[in-house]
């Protein structure tokens, strides 16, 4: 699946997207964030406050317990500041 990073997360990770192939036990958005954090130090720091991570699956906003099994694109971003 593809992961998109926005705003501060994009800056801290120094990339706006990447292809990943998480193991089967990574079932939810929250699991995915934990798995990304375990892979590299930049991600560990970028996502150190899980309560400040928002997510969308295939361009629909989801909660942290959403399942990623059928996701093509998972977006991770900080709280939105539109308007």
């Amino acid at each position: 699946m593809k992961i998109l990073y926005f705003a501060m997360f994009r800056e801290r990770l120094n990339r706006s997207e990447e292809e990943v192939d998480p193991p089967a036990e990574v079932k939810t958005v929250s699991d995915l964030i934990g798995w990304l954090r375990s892979r590299d130090e930049a991600a560990e720091l970028a996502f150190e406050k899980p309560s400040l991570v928002r997510a969308a699956i295939d361009a629909k906003v989801v909660k942290p317990d959403a399942l990623i099994a059928n996701a093509q694109t998972v977006a991770l971003f900080p709280p939105m500041t539109g308007g």
Partner: protein, 151 residues
């Protein structure tokens, strides 16, 4: 409904006139324009908005659908820019059309409150002291939540 997510500038007056030209006898239209703020004691040279346009369209269409059902709107348009904007530039325009003024005013405010917290844009200010991300504000969450308290 019309949703436009764009980097190019827009002319708020021309957009308003185009919206009013199709008012079809409705009694009330409200237009709101949000601008890049810069104050003498807190100058901002450039506001750069990052966006996820595909998600923005989905989120804003859902907001307009809810506002339309709730306030009985006849029509609504939201234009939202992203990219690097100089101080004073229009960022966002919300236009609502309804039979009476209260619905048009309330729906415009409802849409702006939701855009603040639920539209995928992230703002970074360039100031004489450097760059900083604009943090989400509790007041904006509270402003959105008050529409829920009445349910």
């Amino acid at each position: 409904m019309t949703v436009r997510i764009q980097t190019s500038a827009f002319d708020p007056g021309a957009e308003t006139n185009a919206f009013l030209a199709e008012s079809a006898g409705a009694g009330a239209a409200v237009t709101f324009t949000g601008l890049v703020r810069s104050r003498p004691d807190d100058p901002v040279e450039t506001l750069t908005l990052e966006s996820y346009p595909e998600l923005a369209v989905n989120q804003i269409e859902a907001m307009i659908a809810e506002a339309t059902a709730r306030f009985g709107l006849l029509r609504a348009t939201v234009i939202h820019r992203y990219g690097a904007l100089p101080a004073g530039d229009p960022i966002v325009q919300v236009m609502t059309l309804a039979p009476h003024r209260q619905a048009a005013f309330e729906a415009a405010e409802f849409l702006m409150d939701y855009l603040k917290t639920d539209a995928p844009f992230w703002k970074k200010e360039a100031t004489p002291e450097g760059e900083r991300w604009v943090e989400a504000k509790h007041e904006d969450d509270a402003a959105k939540d008050r529409w829920r308290n009445n349910d």
